[in-house]
């Protein structure tokens, strides 16, 4: 029962995390110099979904997250939907085919995703014929955002791992809970 409720709360919880992150992005980084260090939390979430969820579930959640970002940004309609879905599908493909899992590879994923994300937005804007004024800005922010994403990704992923563990989305959590439950029964 408890497991079921917590499992159901996982997705709304994830959405709440996204909302709080977006609100913080929209308020805390309201400064030109801070913009250099503004992490894209939704990018972290999309990477997490690509690695830890089923294809359909992760994809639907990615679309929802992208929609939330579009709601809070002045981007042309559909840009972030396309962008995050490309990141999601690309990450999923890479993760399934080149699985390397240690801290260093995680940092590499963070840095790579940040760079690809910026270039992808530029590419999509180019396709929409609206990239003229974005080149300079993209180049300016490419390195700082890559660094900040590389630094933050282990912490964000640890937090998300903990979150999934608490809401029993992680299969290991369920096994551990059941094991503890059986141990308690044996003690009784």
């Amino acid at each position: 029962m408890k497991i079921g409720i917590l499992k159901i709360l996982n997705i709304p919880g994830l959405m709440l995390i996204a909302l709080i992150s977006l609100a913080l992005q929209g308020t805390l980084f309201n400064n030109v110099s801070l913009a250099f260090f503004q992490p894209d939390v939704i990018l972290f979430l999309v990477l997490w979904l690509a690695m830890k969820r089923t294809f359909a579930e992760g994809g639907v959640l990615t679309l929802l997250l992208a929609y939330l970002v579009e709601l809070k940004s002045g981007v042309p309609q559909g840009l972030f939907l396309t962008h995050y879905m490309m990141i999601y599908v690309g990450t999923r493909f890479l993760y399934r085919n080149f699985r390397v899992w240690n801290r260093r590879s995680l940092i590499l994923i963070g840095v790579g995703a940040a760079v690809i994300s910026r270039l992808n937005i530029l590419f999509l804007m180019y396709l929409l014929n609206k990239s003229d004024n974005l080149w300079f800005h993209t180049l300016q922010l490419l390195a700082p955002t890559a660094i900040i994403h590389g630094i933050l990704i282990p912490f964000v992923f640890r937090f998300l791992h903990r979150f999934d563990f608490l809401t029993f989305k992680n299969p290991e959590a369920e096994h551990r809970y059941e094991r503890d439950f059986h141990l308690d029964e044996e003690m009784i």
Binding site: T27, L71, K72, S73, G74, G78, L79, V89
Partner: protein
């Protein structure tokens, strides 16, 4: 059929995931895209969070500035310092009030000078993306705000309203790469389109290579389109690059508005074509023989 669908389930889902964003992408120009009903539902859920977080941050910062920083001093110096703390608090509050008063007075002066109907709004959030530069203000449809209305402050043009909700609106600032405002150089009357370039700069586009533009020239809104009053400061030319070929020149413009310090703005709900403001920035003889003193510093 069902068996076939099961067999190719992955590819069908993949196709769906790629099709949904591609179908929703907006290939038209940045026309004001109003909120749809599901946008409004999502906003109704998310806006209270945004306001609550903003309020919490303000409270924490205010608490830190007004109390914690003085706490140690109070401990060391007793009652006198405590009294001093109260006085300092009062002075700070008064200074803040004075600054606010000044800002509102400037806004009022602007409103009177340009003979426009305006709604004063406070900025509550900025764009979550670092590539785009819209801001959110705390006034919406209920205050009479509609898409495409001009947004200004005492320093000059801030941007225009992109879309409105009941209580909030999104404003595309002139720094946004997709923003475009028709403007002219005060000295030489050269016209062009001001577009966003970076977090602090804009550029004047479509100015011919032979046009007379110099660093330091003041750019004013042309008033074309009827949304912006004519003659509102847009920015100052800081760099002009002319190549020996081509038909246009590259002109970088620093906006009149310091966007890092924007707190209150005015949404122009009705722009009057009254000539009063023309006398301020237009030294053209037919407009006015003796230019009057303007509210904003060129």
């Amino acid at each position: 059929m069902l068996k076939l669908m099961k067999q190719y389930r992955f590819y069908l889902i993949l196709l769906l995931f790629l099709l949904i964003p591609l179908l929703s992408i907006d290939t038209t120009n940045r026309s004001p895209r109003d909120y749809r009903f599901y946008d409004r539902i999502a906003l109704a859920i998310t806006t209270p969070f945004e306001i609550a977080i903003h309020w919490t941050l303000d409270t924490v910062v205010g608490f830190y500035e007004n109390y914690i920083s003085l706490w140690k001093t109070r401990k060391e110096n007793g009652e006198l310092i405590d009294e001093n703390r109260k006085l300092v608090n009062t002075i700070l509050n008064l200074r803040e009030l004075e600054q606010e008063n000044l800002r509102f007075r400037n806004l009022l002066q602007f409103k009177e000078t340009f003979k426009v109907d305006t709604v004063v709004a406070r900025m509550i959030a900025k764009d979550v993306s670092t590539d785009f530069r819209t801001i959110r203000i705390n006034r919406g449809k209920s205050s009479g705000i509609a898409p495409n209305m001009a947004v200004v402050n005492a320093e000059g043009v801030v941007g225009r309203v992109l879309r409105v909700n009941e209580e909030t609106s999104d404003v595309v600032t002139i720094l946004d790469p997709l923003s475009a405002i028709d403007a002219y150089i005060l000295r030489s009357r050269v016209r062009g389109i001001v577009e966003g370039l970076s977090d602090t700069l804009c550029q004047l586009k479509f100015a011919l290579r032979v046009d007379d533009i110099l660093p330091g020239d003041l750019l004013l809104s042309s008033g074309l389109g009827g949304n912006f009053p004519k003659g509102v400061p847009v920015g100052t030319v800081i760099k002009v690059t002319r190549k020996s070929y081509g038909i246009t020149q590259k002109v970088e413009v620093r906006p009149s508005v310091d966007f890092s310090k924007v707190e209150e703005v005015m949404v122009v709900t009705r722009a009057d074509a009254a000539p009063a403001h023309m006398q301020l920035f237009d030294p053209a003889p037919e407009a006015s023989p003796a230019p009057a003193k303007g509210p904003a510093k060129p």
